[in-house]
């Protein structure tokens, strides 16, 4: 019902076409960069390993994604830092 009302009001986002476009966009980023969700997960694990040598990070909210605009694919990582490791800084 809510969907129906928002459609009546002409809200674009409620349409299934936009759902299709967004899903396609995401799936094509992976297809075109030929990187599988499995590979992305491995990459995430390796990133955590390396970064943990230097700082304490919040693994539960860590985000690693491929993003694409026009013709470029970028690897975007959002890694919340909890603590720097003092011992490493002092070396």
């Amino acid at each position: 019902m809510l969907e129906f009302i928002s459609r009546m009001l002409g809200k674009e986002n409620a349409t299934s076409k936009n759902v299709a476009k967004e899903r396609l966009r995401l799936v094509l980023v992976h297809d075109r960069a030929s990187i599988s969700p499995y590979m992305l997960n491995k990459l995430k694990e390796d990133l955590i390993k390396v970064i943990s040598n230097y700082m304490e990070i919040d693994e539960s909210t860590l985000e690693v994604n491929l993003s694409q605009d026009d013709k470029e694919v970028a690897l975007v990582a959002n890694i919340p830092v909890l603590k720097m490791k003092r011992d490493f800084a002092n070396k």
């Binding site: 002409g10 076409k17 899903r23 396609l24 966009r25 094509l28």
Partner: protein
């Protein structure tokens, strides 16, 4: 020297065979000498769409394996004397022919015909590689669905890897009512995503089912909307500038009212 055009899509069931039959028949109706080649070995269908299934004697594999001469295998169309079909073999599989043999065959056909139209099987394996081996250019068929557009994107990448650049897109089975409602991706959405040139748009049309039932391509039916779309495409292939068909649906009273008061 003629041109070899491969009609491909990746995904099955989006209308490659129907497209091949209609473009071939349409070009023949414009006076061009055309041959349609069915490369879907084991699952041939172009013969039934063309209504020529009862006339098959030899097939593609008979030609490449030397069982018959190329001329013997070509089936003349019922309607146009300048239109021929080279059917696929039904009892073999895709490995019965290789890309090199296909390339040689296409080079032979090119000498004789203005347009050689190759109906490609679904998939990206050997059947696809055979079909594109001798092609000069490609037409990619898709429908406004996530799965079909995704596969089209993959095929465009594979065509480029095979040095078949600038493929042309056909968007098949568009339903203007659903597009208007926002429940189907429209032409610009798909072109945005795939970023290739558009050859044409075919509206979803019951007359395609009827024409396939009868074995008479819709392009010959003046009353068919899909047929009109194919006629425009054949004109474009011949180098004419033809506008897209108008698929817009006029606004209802309520929609006009919404626009008037600025709700849209």
């Amino acid at each position: 020297m003629g041109e070899v055009i491969v009609v491909t899509s990746g995904k099955g069931g989006v209308g490659k065979t129907t497209t091949s039959a209609n473009l071939g028949t349409g070009l023949a109706a414009l006076g061009q000498k055309v041959v349609l080649v069915d490369t879907d070995i084991g699952l041939r269908n172009l013969d039934v769409v063309m209504g020529l299934e009862n006339r098959i004697v030899y097939d593609l594999i008979d030609v490449t394996s030397g069982n018959c001469k190329l001329k013997q295998s070509l089936i003349k169309d019922k309607r146009f004397a300048n239109l021929y079909l080279l059917p696929a073999a039904q009892t073999k599989d895709k490995s019965a022919i290789d890309p090199e043999q296909m390339l040689k065959l296409c080079q032979e056909l090119k000498k004789e015909f203005d347009y050689t139209i190759i109906d490609c099987p679904a998939g990206i394996e050997q059947g696809f590689r055979n079909a594109i081996a001798g092609a000069d250019c490609a037409i990619v068929v898709t429908t406004p669905e996530v799965s079909a557009v995704r596969d089209a994107d993959r095929i465009i990448g594979l065509l480029e890897a095979a040095e078949l650049y600038n493929p042309k897109l056909i968007i098949n089975r568009i339903k203007p009512v659903m597009v208007k409602r926002g429940d189907m991706m429209d032409i610009s959405d798909i072109l945005d995503i795939l970023a290739i040139d558009l050859l044409g748009v075919v509206p979803d049309d019951e007359s395609i089912v009827i024409s396939t039932n009868k074995g008479e391509p819709a392009v010959m039916n003046k009353a068919s909307k899909a047929g009109e779309a194919y006629r425009r495409m054949t004109d474009r292939i011949r180098g004419e500038e033809v506008p897209l068909m108008n698929l817009d649906i006029p606004d209802s009273f309520f929609e006009k009212f919404k626009k008037l008061i600025g709700m849209r």
